[in-house]
Amino acid sequence: MTEAATPQVSRTIDARGSFCPGPLMELIRGIKESEVGDVLSVLSTDKGSKTDIPKWIGKAGHNLIGVFTRDGYDEIIVEKVR
């Protein structure tokens, strides 16, 4: 998905500075607290996040909208679908 087509983010989880598995754990917590249809953005400086988080999203059956490299961190955007 292109950046322009990214849906509006309902909640941003700023996990920058948190080490593996912090960002993944914070996303799982955030997803549990969200409603189906919500779009969550995770900001992470941990290098493992851009592989581990999409794997978990795939396993959990949520919708990975995109993984974007930002200035010094990665942004992973996911839609809760179940």
Binding site: G17, C20, P21, I28, K32, G48, D52, W56, K59, A60
Partner: protein, 399 residues
């Protein structure tokens, strides 16, 4: 009179108080300084021993001693609950209604399990994070005659990260000895994308799981427990039926640090990774570097209580305590912290059981991940000796 108040009589609090009292010995003798430990129970529990109760190798009464017996003669002990910390007034309000004023505060309030945060945990899951729970797990293992054992983790961080893997290995060995292994299916649910948070330890442990025939499921944090069907449902909605469920309960920091506005809801205190001073905010705002977040000049945290990306283990507190003691004593004495304990570099060292009377050693710091040696009998015996001699060594600062 400079008053150093230490909250919590676990490994971190006890050792910090003892080391600080030694450094301030002459000031204490002159009545110019005082070190006080506040602890809710006045009893010091050696928590790593609980796992061995579950394995039938330890007794609960051997794992508790009066806190006073472990403290330096120059440390006062107040047995009382901690209700509120006021950093502006530099006071600690106690459950009895008393108030302590501090000049230097050390928060070593540890972590606590909150099984009530996961529905059906109490009725369905066994664990080994209290002596009572470990004894119940022992009874369950004794009556186990084969079936499905699931070992899982309901949230990170939790105390003693290697423990669930160790329990998996030890239970597997026991079942083999009892002739029950062929009729038992064992599954280890890891909440992350590998068997253990530290990559090198994961690389060591994963083949052992394979050799022992323990199925490893990744990205499988325990999300729900279906008590009617006896099924664990993971965060990723996968189902794992069990006959015996062993699960690490959710953990949080002490409620008092949340209530006092020092930590977020999780209870983990935002802590400087080198000075161990508590930060004034949990997360810097946009555009603010972590280094620019102000630290409380006279409030320190150590052990399980912090939000540092380290093992929540007595070992972490053990190696943090000399740093806190040095910095607190330096502040009281009006000098700069110095020597090898001026700054904490993330040192942690702990033993890791792999079953069959073998173990290995995890030793690491912020810059150097562990390189565990091949498991052997020496490290297993090392852990046993360490556990038995703990009372005479760690709390008293002899190792």
């Amino acid at each position: 009179m400079q008053h150093v108040v230490v909250l919590g009589g676990g490994v971190g609090g006890t050792l910090t108080a003892n080391l600080t009292a030694r450094k301030l010995k002459s000031r204490i003798a002159k009545g110019e300084a005082k070190v006080t430990v506040v602890d809710a129970t006045g009893q010091h529990a050696y928590q790593p021993g609980y796992m061995y109760i579950a394995m039938g190798q330890e007794r609960a009464d051997k794992l508790v001693r009066p806190e006073k017996s472990l403290l330096d003669g120059n440390v006062a002990l107040v047995v009382d609950g901690i209700e509120r910390i006021d950093t502006a007034a530099q006071t600690v309000a106690l459950a009895s209604g008393a108030t302590l004023h501090y000049d230097q505060l050390v928060i070593a309030t540890g972590s606590r399990i909150v099984p009530e945060e996961l529905a059906n945990f109490d009725g369905e899951a066994h664990h080994f994070y209290t002596a009572e729970a470990a004894a119940k797990l022992r009874v369950a293992l004794d009556s186990f005659t084969g079936g499905k054992i699931v070992i899982g983790i309901a949230g990170i961080p939790y105390k003693c990260p290697p423990a669930p893997l160790e329990v998996a290995f030890l239970v597997e060995s026991e079942l083999r000895e009892r002739g029950l292994r062929d009729t038992t299916e064992m599954t280890f649910l890891s909440p992350i994308n590998r068997a253990f948070t530290i990559e090198s330890v994961s690389e060591m442990a994963t083949p052992i799981l394979g050799e022992k025939g323990i199925r490893l499921e990744l990205l499988a944090g325990v999300g729900e427990i279906d008590a009617e069907r006896h099924v664990v449902i993971t965060d990723a909605f996968e189902e794992h039926p069990y006959d015996l469920l062993i699960c690490v309960p959710p953990h949080r920091g002490a409620q008092v640090v949340v209530d006092s506005g020092l930590a977020p809801k999780s209870g983990w205190l935002p802590t400087d990774r080198h000075t161990l001073q508590v930060k004034t905010v949990a997360k810097p705002g946009p555009g603010v570097a972590d280094a620019d977040v102000p630290r409380y000049a006279n409030v320190y945290a150590l052990g399980d209580a912090t939000d540092l990306p380290l093992s929540k283990a007595g070992s972490t507190a053990h190696f943090e305590a000399p740093v806190v003691a040095e910095r607190v004593a330096a502040a009281v004495l009006g000098r700069q912290p110095g020597g090898k304990h001026a700054s904490y570099e993330g040192k942690v060292m702990c033993f890791f059981e792999v079953g069959d009377g073998k173990g290995t050693l995890l030793q690491f710091d912020y810059e150097h991940p562990p390189t565990p040696p091949k498991p052997n009998r020496i490290w297993h015996l090392g852990k046993i000796v360490f556990n038995k001699t703990y009372w005479h060594t760690v709390p008293k600062g002899r190792v």
